[in-house]
Amino acid sequence: MEVSKLLGFLLRRGVKAAVVVLAIVVCNFLLVHAAPGDPASVIAGQSGAADAVFLEQLRRQFGLDQPLHVQLWIYVKSVLSLDLGFSHRQQQAVSLLVLERLPATLLLTGAAFVFAVTLGVTLGALAAQRVGKWADSLITVVALTFYATPLFWVGLMLVLVFSVWLEWLPSFGMSSVGADLHGLAVVWDVAQHLLLPALTLGLFYLAVYARLTRATMLEVADQDFVKTARAKGVPEGRILRSHILRNALLPVITFAGIQAGQLLGGSILVETVFAWPGIGRLAFEALLARDYPVLLGVFFCTSVMVVLFNLVTDLLYAIIDPRVEVAG
């Protein structure tokens, strides 16, 4: 893949992605504003006291007194200049709010993703290799079990076991606040907090990857070139590694690209159960409070991430699979 081709590809995909993201921005804007209620009434409802002046002030301040299409136009304009707007409710720039929470979500979903992919692929490969044996059955049963169990349920059970009964791990939060830790101790502290939520989020996807890997490996193992490798006298281990697994990873990568974006959505539940300060919860709370700019900001952010993930997937795919031209 030459550099110029790659640049051309990135440019084309960039334009396409920008169009998609913009469409999402507009659609989300309309969807979000279709929800009954507005931030002013929510604040009024929660302040314990309100009057018409108060509501009027808030609405004017939030720009809600403008017609919807004007609000949309203002929003789209500001998004185009990469300004995600201002949360009047929280008195903060949305980009700040989102960026503040994004690392936590990325850490959680990243950890869950890595965990799910590595272990899932390993287990799937193992099962495929021992197809029909007890190890295969065991892995299949375990994968199905996690696949069929509600996420939040797994989270609750993990907390019950590891935090309540065994008291090994903290049950919520991202770090021990006020513990005044430095250096490696901080990493260790966050890692401890991360373990349960990442496990909860990861187990479901682990199951998915294990099943997917197993299925594709069995499919690839059937293909002619594997027979060719055998006819060449290539040892089984090497056949598995450099012929079967490599080809079987292609659908896994495709799936991972799609799913990485969905992981952000799935993290809402886990972030709620484990009080993880990420954007999933930010979005959920913003929705309940009708904090439109924040909600839209999170949507914008996640759709950009999804588009980015897709781009990375395609590039990765193109690197692994020479047949794919990065033609868009």
Partner: protein, 529 residues
């Protein structure tokens, strides 16, 4: 009973907070300096500046950073805070406050009468609906000297002092707000008050950390080094946190009532339901009088009789709070214990409905009502489910509608509901917290007004009398009369005098010392070793 005398009495007597410390010392426990209090917060507040936001969680945190002139005992007697003493003229129109000396804001600037006047006349008047309504009565506010504030009212307003709690009128630094848009001023993001704790750090979605203010005006106080409010959105995680010692204090909505019995049983924890006297929230089934047959008094009475308030208090709230008998909470002034709603009686309720001409159909249903479930937590969903069953007993099919906070507030504000649940703070005096729900002059398309649309000229008149009178006796008479009428006409179906459990580690002392509970400055709270 005159407030001025009591106020002076309180002012000259020892400060109750200190008394509590002395109590502790008498028991051999000296207040100990040091230690960090970790507690929780539900939900996370949007900003921490009182005035810009007056929601519950904001008040809990901000009351550590901001103070007002007064605070109040559980019996709602004023306690001096930034006001060392005060006098009220016999006609009830002139209030003169003498301020504490040496009070500094967190940025080092001294707090003066100018700050107090700015806070009252400008800041809260502009921002807060509750303050705006009351402070509109002020004719003039002047500062004869930097430590004296003189306020003259246009007319007597007996509950006036109740407005000088930190939750209603926190004193903010004039020099950081004057001439700016109060909502967007930089100080909103880094609140600066006179309280014992100053703002240190806020990681959104994670925690707020307050640290000890070294120049606090009470020497040697506060005792704690820092307070950390952790944001924990899941109630079971919160329960775990207090149980496992990851947090030492929970307040307000942190702990669900059904968890309270288990926590009461923990030897290291103390469960306290006091400290809500100033707010005294009363919950009720809010009926929209525009919806037939809710305009029929007999129907409302029947519904009221169909509700087993003891069941609600015991089975749903697990004894946190008690059944309401009357629109005015028993902890609010001028509550009349003689006025009571009719007792739980399903048979009588059915008879009443029969008499009102609502015959049951083949399925035993007289009519169907919709119920907008209050979206503030699971307990309200349970209440909705109970009500569905209770209404069923008298032949009313209750169809639940669930919603989120945004939709709930809009729909109630727009009168687009049939029945819902609401609970409202009473702020110590029926004029401040009860009147607004029942007078026809306050029928507005805004939440916490008379959204139900109840209208009775006699009630309007009695509330007006009580509002304008300077004499507590006259006020009591008017309030008693109105409570009788309301208990008869049941414009809303009062359910509970609510309380919220404050649960803390026994090592944490002096948590609840006033009628404001956890909404006080915590300058006397300490952790024993």
């Amino acid at each position: 009973m005159t407030v001025s005398r009591r106020g002076l009495l309180a002012a000259t007597a020892a400060v109750p907070g200190l008394m509590r410390v002395q109590d502790a010392q008498a028991q051999g426990i000296a207040p100990r300096r040091g230690g960090t209090l970790t507690t929780m917060l539900t939900p996370e507040p949007p900003v921490l500046q009182i005035g810009v936001n007056n929601q519950g969680p904001t008040l809990v945190i901000a009351s550590k950073m901001f103070q007002s002139l007064l605070s109040f005992t559980p019996a709602l007697e004023p306690i001096p805070v930034l006001a060392k003493s005060w006098t009220i003229s016999p006609d009830g129109k002139e209030y003169v406050f003498t301020l504490q000396e040496g009070v500094k804001f967190h940025d080092g600037q001294p707090m003066t009468a100018e700050d107090v006047i700015f806070s009252i006349m400008k800041f809260h008047t502009e921002l807060a609906p509750r303050a705006r309504a009351v402070f509109a009565l002020i004719e003039s506010a002047t500062a004869p000297d930097p430590l004296t504030v003189r306020i003259v009212l246009k007319q007597p307003f007996q509950p006036f002092l109740l407005m000088f709690d930190a939750s209603a009128c926190a004193i903010v630094p004039k020099h950081l707000f004057d001439g700016q848009d109060y909502r967007t001023a930089p100080a909103v993001q880094r609140p600066v008050g006179t309280g014992p704790f100053r703002f240190a750090e806020w990681q959104r979605g994670n925690f707020v950390r307050l640290e000890r203010f070294a120049d606090y005006w009470k020497p040697g106080q506060p005792y704690l080094d820092a307070i950390i409010y952790r944001v924990v959105p899941d109630s079971q995680s919160r329960r775990l946190a207090i149980e496992t010692g990851q947090a030492q204090l929970t307040q307000a909505n942190d702990i669900e009532p059904f968890d309270v019995p288990a926590l009461r049983a923990k030897p290291n924890l103390e469960v306290n339901v006091k400290g809500w006297e100033y707010f005294s929230p009363v919950s009720w089934i809010e009926l929209n009088h525009r919806v037939k047959p809710l305009d029929d008094m007999r129907v409302r009475q029947a519904i009221s009789m169909a509700i087993d308030r003891n069941f609600i208090a015991q089975r749903l709230w697990f004894g946190v709070g008690k059944p309401a008998t009357n629109p005015v909470a028993s902890t609010t002034r001028f509550h009349d214990a003689g006025a009571k709603v009719a007792a739980y009686d399903v048979r009588a309720a059915n008879a009443l409905l029969d008499a009102a001409g609502h015959k049951a159909n083949a399925q035993g249903v007289r009519f169907t009502l919709k119920h907008l479930v209050l979206p503030y937590g699971e307990i309200w969903s349970r209440l909705g489910e109970y009500l569905k069953q209770a209404f069923r007993q008298v032949g009313i099919a209750l169809e639940l509608e669930s919603t989120d906070a945004g939709s709930w507030a809009r729909r109630v504000g727009a009168w687009e509901y049939e029945t819902t649940i609401n609970f409202v703070y009473q702020f110590g005096d029926p004029t401040l917290g009860v009147e607004r729900t029942y007078v026809s002059t306050n029928i507005q398309k805004v939440t916490f007004t008379n959204t139900g649309g109840y209208s009775n000229p006699k009630v309007d008149e009695l509330f007006a009398t009580a509002r304008g009178s300077a004499d507590p006796k006259d006020r009591q008479a008017a309030f008693s009369a109105v409570q009788k009428i309301l208990c008869e006409e049941v414009p809303q179906i009062w359910l509970m005098e609510m309380a919220f459990p404050t649960i803390h580690d026994k090592k944490l002392r002096n948590v609840i010392t006033t009628g404001l509970g956890v909404h006080t400055s915590f300058d006397d709270v300490f952790l024993t070793a």
